[in-house]
């Protein structure tokens, strides 16, 4: 039986890691739930953002937040362009999955070609910073990621819940032709949402660069985590994505604490399979 402090520490790491999962799942959950497009390339784009953050920081000494601003703008444009392609060719849900799968492979190859398959680590002044609560240790950057994730989730939730445009987006997701008949410009709103989803991937990427070790093959191990989070949290529900992220983060951290860390990736995939089989109503 591991020491109690070890479990408490695992709980904290799990919650904080869950924040990052939630941040990653946010954009995917919105585009799947509200646009009915399954974006297998979402994590690949986040990883690309992470590499860009790391590269801009190490090669040009650009601070992560400035890199983040540039990435958010560029990714927004990418999101709009991607959705334009989907609309132009009337891509189905299944088609969107194939295309974004292709995008994920292209991103992986691009990263591998430019930055090789070696592991990369972004060493910043904040990297080791942490504070101690009792016997427990809370890393600063992970906490920052968690706070940003929580903030974005709540803001997005409030936007969808209370803002006119947010309500219009939900109406489009339920019945686009009728929403159009009431004056909602479905096309324009879809572009906006797709751009926002991609921008969220960019923001998540900045934090991945600051927190994690980067390698191109990571793309595929993270897909399971992110999809499990999205489905647990209910498609199109920002708060759910955060809650799902925390749940999976804690499960993984607990597995690592009590069992061989090599089994940790199994947790999210097994959870995802179980969810698909005992499908709750909301999928």
């Amino acid at each position: 039986m591991p020491h109690l402090t070890l479990l408490e520490q695992a709980l904290i790491s799990g919650i904080l890691a869950g924040g990052l999962y939630g941040l990653l799942a946010l954009g995917l959950s919105l585009s799947w739930g509200l646009l009915r497009l399954v974006n297998l390339g979402h994590f690949a784009m986040a990883l690309l953002a992470a590499y860009l953050t790391w590269y801009l920081g190490t090669a040009f000494a650009i601070a992560p937040w400035w890199a983040g601003v540039a990435i958010v703008v560029a990714f927004f444009v990418y999101g709009v362009a991607l959705h334009w392609v989907f609309m132009r060719f009337r891509v189905t849900e299944m088609g969107s999955m194939l295309i974004t799968f292709g995008i994920a492979v292209i991103v992986e190859s691009t990263i591998q070609t430019i930055w090789t398959a070696d592991f990369r680590r972004y060493e910043t002044a904040l990297a080791g910073a942490s504070f101690v609560v009792g016997a427990l240790y809370v890393p600063m950057l992970n906490l920052a990621a968690f706070v940003v994730a929580a903030l974005l989730a709540v803001l997005t939730w409030a936007w969808l819940r209370f803002a006119t445009i947010g309500k219009a987006l939900r109406a489009c997701a339920e019945d686009a032709p009728i929403a159009t008949a009431f004056g909602i410009n479905h096309r324009a709103l879809s572009f906006l949402l797709s751009g926002i989803c991609a921008a969220y991937a960019g923001i998540a990427g900045v934090f991945i660069a600051l927190i994690a070790t980067l390698a191109p093959s990571e793309i595929w191990t993270w897909i399971g985590v992110v999809f499990a989070v999205v489905i647990i949290g209910r498609l199109g529900n920002p708060i759910g994505a955060l809650a799902g992220g925390i749940l999976i983060g804690v499960c993984e951290a607990m597995t690592m604490a009590v069992a061989d860390p090599a089994w940790a990736p199994l947790v999210s995939f097994s959870l995802l399979i179980a969810l698909l089989l005992f499908r709750p109503r909301w999928i």
Binding site: M94, F101, W220, G224, F227, R279
Partner: protein
Amino acid sequence: MTRQRVLEIAGLAVAAAALVAFPALDVPAFYVSFLYMVFFWIAMATSWTILSGFAGYWSFGHAAFFGAGLYTSATLATKFGVPFLLTLPLAAGVAALLGSGIGFVVFRVQRLRGELFALLTISVTFVIAAIISNTAIDGGAGVNLMNVHLPEVFGSPTGTIYLLGLAMAALSLWAAWRIFRSRLGLGLLAIHDDEDVAEVKGVPTFRYKLAAFALSAGIAGAAGGVHAIYVGYVTVGETFEITVTMYPVVMSILGGARHWLGPALGATIVTGALYGFASGPEASLGRAGIALGLIVVVLLLPGGVMPGLIRLRHALRRAPDRVAPAPGLAAVPKQCPAQGATPVVALDCRGICKTFGGVQALKDVDLAVLEGEILGLVGPNGSGKSTLINVVTGHHRLDRGTIALAGARIDALPAHGIARLGIARTYQIPRPFNRLSVLDNVALAARFGPLARGRADAYAEAAHWLGYTGIARRADALPGQLNLHERKFLELARALAARPRILLLDEVLSGLNHTEIDAALDLIRDIRAGGTTIVFVEHLMRAVVALSDRVAVLNDGAVIAIGTPHETMREAEVVKVYLGKAHAS
């Protein structure tokens, strides 16, 4: 046998002999290896197509079945000293078992389709990879097969591996071809288009999907077994690599995933292209190129290369591929409706109830349909007419009550079982299988109907009914090219081709014009004269009065009146609910 056919067979035989003898020709090893890879991907892509291309269940996890077979062979050959060739059927068996196990759970417990099925297969791949990597099967270090003995053909193990690959590809192609032309293949393509309708037309969808899954996984497993000895040293990382999942998808879509030869064509093209970038950083670029190809094909050529090639072949041949079938089939057996004699109950519904989420669609309905009659079923929208048809055909389960066909209970049977007993229906809004030709749509009903026609008979039968309903000249069209009127008659032909004892018509007349309606009325009378009992739902009063022997009026889920048309339509309650209050006074 025509001269052309002889030439074709001779040509195929020469090509096969050349392929078999290729390694003996003293060519550089590179070419032998390249051809092996082509064979390998042909087997993998064909395997993917049997499940995903035909049945429409998209696997994003073929690496799981490939890996299961690969590690089965590797483990048996190295740790248990099983002769390598013997491990191959076992590899196929383990993978097939895995596939059918997953299929059993997925198709029975939850009807997962589309992107959720794809996600499930991705997840399974990672779980299996993690299990193999973390247990003694691999142990994280990989398995070395260098010392595994392999019988030598053409003087080297390479020749044997080449021949195993060739056999693998040939076997998978043969399997795909056989399936494509069989009932199984037709059923799978129908499942792809509309699973519910396929079931109602007599396709045992659960069994067929399971069979496709097992076959597909089995072929991938066998290919994995052969590949274990080809690579010589297997690791989890390389076995469950994302490309193993991606390439069969790309190849099949590029080639055409609804034809047995499509994936092989795609596999040859893609493998050829990949060998252009052999190694080093270009290999990664090659993958990006393939991914880009996938995107372009999905956007611009969703059907793949194969449909275009088939059209080209037809154009070159000029002559019609299929000789127009002679309408030599005996007309519908004449069997006079029992007039004067004691009426026999053909279909007996007793006390049937059906509730949908709190709304009671059918409340204790008793309805006896007499042998050989035409029973009109009328009532306002939402009165339960469609639900009645859906429970009789087995699409919905009853909450309570019984349904008997000629005295035998049918309410516990699956929909395809009921179809085989001779109950057929049409849909108010036609629901043809959109990617099957008009002729295939009708032939499917004949093949899966009560008579279970063979291939040739089914097409003759289909041609007969297309002629009967007057749409014979559209036989080769796709349903989407038909206008509403032709689609309605396609619905009818598809129901008739099953030669049903009881025919349920759901508003076949709506949307037709006056002359078309008159023609349709004659047609329905003619069908009855052939001995078929008919229940028809209709809003058009003129038709109801003209056709029906008896009329049953449904309101709010209950039968409120039944009798001859004129009596029934005059009853005060019927006038009130059906024609509006204004006319009741």
